[in-house]
Symmetry: C2
Subunit: 251 residues, 2 copies
Amino acid sequence: MSKYEQDIRNAVSLRGSVSVSELAALLNVSDQTIRRIVKPMVDRGDVEKVHGAIVSTQTLADPPFLARMNRNKQAKIAIANIVAGMIKPGDSIAINTGSTSAFVAQALRQHHDLTVITNSTFIASTLAMVSGNRVYMAGSQLRNHDGAAFDRSAFETIAAHHTKWALLSASSVHPERGFLVQEQCEADMCAALMKIADRHIWAVDASKLTDKHLQIRLPAPIAGSTLATDAQPAPAYDRILSRTSIAVTAL
Amino acid sequence: MSKYEQDIRNAVSLRGSVSVSELAALLNVSDQTIRRIVKPMVDRGDVEKVHGAIVSTQTLADPPFLARMNRNKQAKIAIANIVAGMIKPGDSIAINTGSTSAFVAQALRQHHDLTVITNSTFIASTLAMVSGNRVYMAGSQLRNHDGAAFDRSAFETIAAHHTKWALLSASSVHPERGFLVQEQCEADMCAALMKIADRHIWAVDASKLTDKHLQIRLPAPIAGSTLATDAQPAPAYDRILSRTSIAVTAL
DNA sequence: TTCTATATCAACATAAATCAACAAAAAAGT
DNA sequence: ACTTTTTTGTTGATTTATGTTGATATAGAA
């Protein structure tokens, strides 16, 4: 097992097919080395090899979805580690769909004995297979975008639960208008999750601390919420964030 | 437990892989010390060690789940291709959880415009993100085993749908007793799927065409069902299979 | 088909990482 | 202060990974 395997897997599943030389340039090693690393991966069935390139045997998710996952990846992982540090064994948590949430779910796999409710099949599937966890999938009809549900049954299932934590995300944060999302259903979902949880964690990477237009405003954070982010917010945000405690990790 | 463990864990999960020397420089200790600290972490499964680096163990799915996926992988892929060949654009299909089904789902990603209903978050997530598909996740409470639902709402959601195809699996097939599964809920699920579908496809790899004990019998296949498998069944199975058309691909 | 450009493979040399054993230093107990 | 225990650093032999070279194989074009 080589340290480059993960990178190769990522590149291949992201792009469908990659040439040996491209990978060599990407990882700063020789072509021969790539071939040597890829051989056992082919034997194992991880990827497939054709003359001139290695191709993916299976796509775990849509390329656009993976692209979103990879944008600001470092920041998202850092935030995920902050959040995972706040959650303790035995806790219950409601998780909204989203790429940052997906990283949090990944980090939470190291925990045990969690009760999780989410509207994302991706997150549900990630956490359901950790033994000791109790995972509930909210909703039935899934949208293509990210495999998450926003139908009536999703809201009904969520309303029937109560959790210690809610993990919320926003697509941007405005100094005066507060947390913003792009779709009405996202706003409704955040409101529903806030309602059933004792404590709220906003996971927002620093690149989103900028104003955008035409977005839907979310309910204001209640006192004692936590903002998990990767860089100290600008002073302009002081007022809107005065009710939250802010957890930051420097990169 | 060393005081450096947390730092190492963070660095590894943040960066995916870190070299021993980098960690040594970071923590101001010798390479050898890093190796000594990391060894018990590897034994515990916290991180993984490869020549040249320490890599994160975080994978997208559980090791036991992946192990089941990899058993008889070739046969399952062959079966998945048979099944994918039967499904046409615009078709609707109900899919039961299972490792063979997971491969079928993977193969079905090449299709478009499918209506899918499944009780597996893994399969739902795989097919939901294909644009043009309409995917419904049946159920809410997920079992750890495979992230699939067998609760009341799963059966209710399924009963509310109607599909052209049902993809069924069994854990073994007996020449006289027919298709068998290990759990009552699996049998109920198969019965529910058979009920809502016009045509049934049994996906069973040839290694399961052997008798086992203490298993639950499924409803007999209705006439016109298809058995998708990877090797011609022994003559002993002729009688039980007389009502099905058999699709086989040789390996 | 034959030719050409490119990819692959095998073998060796080199560089790097690992391990075991011992020495030095620090921490803990008497 | 002394011994014992634990941790850390150093050394050199061993193992493993990587890059280079040259021979072979493959895909596509003429």
